[in-house]
Symmetry: C2
Subunit: 153 residues, 2 copies
DNA sequence: TCACATTTAATTGTTCGCAATTGAATGTGG
DNA sequence: CCACATTCAATTGCGAACAATTAAATGTGA
């Protein structure tokens, strides 16, 4: 009775790993987003930062980091690039000089209108109903939060 | 009737984006994996390459790239680091000298036994039944494949 | 056979992502 | 008031990830 794989190896098989499903799905999203975001002059992580700022402007770096689960080592250079692109302004808070507040420029605000086309294109590319996507999103978020709970945050 | 957000903005809200759910879940996985893989001396992408090689040894770089959706720009330096760690051997194929074949060293093979503990720890961290995880994985893979179909691969 | 296209890795340059450290500003206990 | 810890952003260094290019090997058609 020949077997291609040992049963003991099943947990190590690539196709059985949910982490690889998530990892490769994230890269697939990135590739779908790329041509859309190129038109806005943004990378995907930059787009995420803009999403945060379009919801609430003039926030410290730390708040952005908490929402996106990113630290200053990632955000500081990214925000400097957004500033070089004239989409945001970085200013030290006068109340607390440790903080740097990130505010949208008029161009940064204006980009929001062009960005509205993006979620529509992604929905189309997903080839899936909105309700299915919402259900999946909620499941994935729940899993993510359980993982984050383990590493204590 | 004051509203915090315009309904027209709903598609742009961070928490409504499945892509961000996937993106942040991938990073959460990475953080859970990190202490486990540190013990093996591997990064997460290196672990993925080892998973491929533990299933099938002595494969060209291109095959690894197709399974993991990565290109030579990512894999070449990664494989050189695995070679420097004495886990793999890189040799030009004699039949087709364009190809570089990746083979496990005895140490690379031996690492598989230490790696068996990893999926168990991840399962525990997920705080979720195996059947639920399998169902989620299949959904995410299906979504990923639909996205990949759009960008043509 | 020979020009030409294709395939395969490697290389270069840019941007993330994170650990670890630094330095300045702020908060706190004695 | 002052030593001390904490907070916050910036910096440094390393490892992905990918686009674009290069170079060598191989395949193909006239």
């Amino acid at each position: 009775m020949p077997r291609k794989h040992s049963a003991a190896d099943a947990p190590l098989r690539l196709d059985n790993q949910i982490c690889f499903a998530v990892y490769s799905a994230a890269h697939a999203f990135n590739r779908v987003y790329k041509p859309l975001l190129d038109r806005l002059g943004l990378t995907y992580p930059q787009y995420l930062v803009m999403l945060v700022l379009w919801e609430r402007d003039d926030v410290p770096v730390k708040d952005i980091g908490e929402k996106l689960h990113l630290d200053s080592g990632t955000l500081t250079p990214l925000l400097k690039r957004l500033e070089a692109a004239h989409l945001v302004k970085r200013t030290r808070s006068s109340e607390d000089e440790r903080q740097v507040l990130i505010a949208l420029t008029p161009q940064g605000q204006a980009l929001k209108d062009k960005a509205r086309a993006v979620p529509q294109s992604i929905l189309a590319a997903s080839d899936c109903s909105v309700s299915e996507l919402v259900a999946m999103k909620d499941e994935i978020v729940a899993l993510r939060d359980r993982l984050n709970a383990v590493i204590g945050e």
